[in-house]
Subunit: 223 residues, 2 copies
């Protein structure tokens, strides 16, 4: 069989927002606010994971959440109802990602004097959000078991920019052809220093490990 043909389509040039992002990070450092950028595909369990994590941490640090979505406010409502913490919805008007300037619009709407940990739930998308530094201190992503263990091969940039990868929905491992060790290996190929944590947001399994990691990051940032 002949090798498959590969057509290289030219890439469009995005405006750089790196400077904006660095400035935002500096401001956040000065104000003692840690910003986590959480990314994933649609339906990977970002909101459920956040609710579990927030409920483990909310007595230890002051948290606020920004839920980015193209439309609807389902997620921000869910977070607020399930955790009681401040939660706002960012409507992107069809846009597929948030950059630093857009993230700042969200942060400006929060009362940052009362916040140690601000969490941005980015738009459900493995492509565009990876291209834009939001000004976050750390990037986290969720890969859920039904999506397949080959995703680090297909969405390299996303995996390469994340400090932590949660492998979610481990409760359905028996029903899918997903190999956790192979997945770890695929992630390592893209990003040897990424921390990989298997979790099940539905049952709560493993969320304590992620919460502990996050708490350490917040405390380190505030020093």
């Amino acid at each position: 069989m002949d090798p498959v043909r590969i057509i290289e389509i030219k890439k469009s040039v995005f405006e750089s927002n790196e400077k904006d992002a660095d400035n935002l990070r500096k401001e956040l450092k000065d104000r003692g606010v840690f910003l986590l950028n959480l990314m994933s595909s649609p339906g990977s369990g970002k909101t459920t994971t956040l609710i579990r994590t927030i409920n483990l941490l909310k007595e230890k640090v002051r948290i606020a959440v920004m839920e980015a979505d193209i439309d609807s406010d389902v997620d921000a409502v869910k977070i607020k109802e399930a955790t009681g913490i401040p939660s706002i919805q960012l409507h992107t008007g069809g846009m597929c990602h948030l950059d630093a300037e857009m993230t700042r619009q969200g942060l400006d709407a929060l009362d940052l004097g009362e916040v140690d940990l601000a969490i941005l739930e980015n738009v459900g998308n493995l492509v565009c959000p990876a291209e834009f530094d939001t000004g976050s201190v750390k990037n986290a992503m969720i890969l859920s078991v039904p999506e397949g263990d080959d995703k680090p091969l297909k969405y390299p940039l996303m995996f390469s920019i994340c400090d932590v990868v949660l492998i979610n929905k481990t409760d359905v491992l028996p029903y899918f052809d997903f190999d956790i060790e192979k997945c770890r290996e695929n992630i390592r190929m893209r990003n040897p220093s990424a921390k990989v944590i298997p979790v099940c947001a539905r049952t709560g399994e493993g969320i304590d490990v992620f919460a502990q990691w996050l708490l350490e990051q917040v405390n380190a940032w505030k020093q």
Copy 2:
């Protein structure tokens, strides 16, 4: 509880490629080539669904596939090995979607005189591909059960532009909180005329319904 705050972030303006897309469609009509644009989230089962569909149709119509991916050629190789039909990989170099001009670059690499049905497997993404008309005759999308029945609420544009929505991975319905009727209702809200077909690409269930629909579309287009 106070209502959740909603911050409207301004939308960036994309260059219109509608004219390009209309021209491409006209050319395809003249040449008797039907172009299907297949979209979904990462890991929803586009490639497996295509393999099943192609194997049902390949004796009836001449098919070629363009697999768009940011990186890797896993999918084009899989299609070629499992079906024997011409399959090429389009590398988007990090880009999150294909527009009509990019699709044309792919079509130019196929031998269209030998093709009745060209299938574009778009980048795994529920946001950006919906914004760009590829010049396709029909748009199809796959929503898989693990992603949740609320996705039409969160990704309205994608559902509104699709002629057919496949609900895939119905074999794992018992393990997820996914209500097919509620999902149909959510899809109808976005797009009353979309055809909804539950399928299981792994077992092949329901794929015949989709294949039959597709065959009818191709035959109607070639008249």
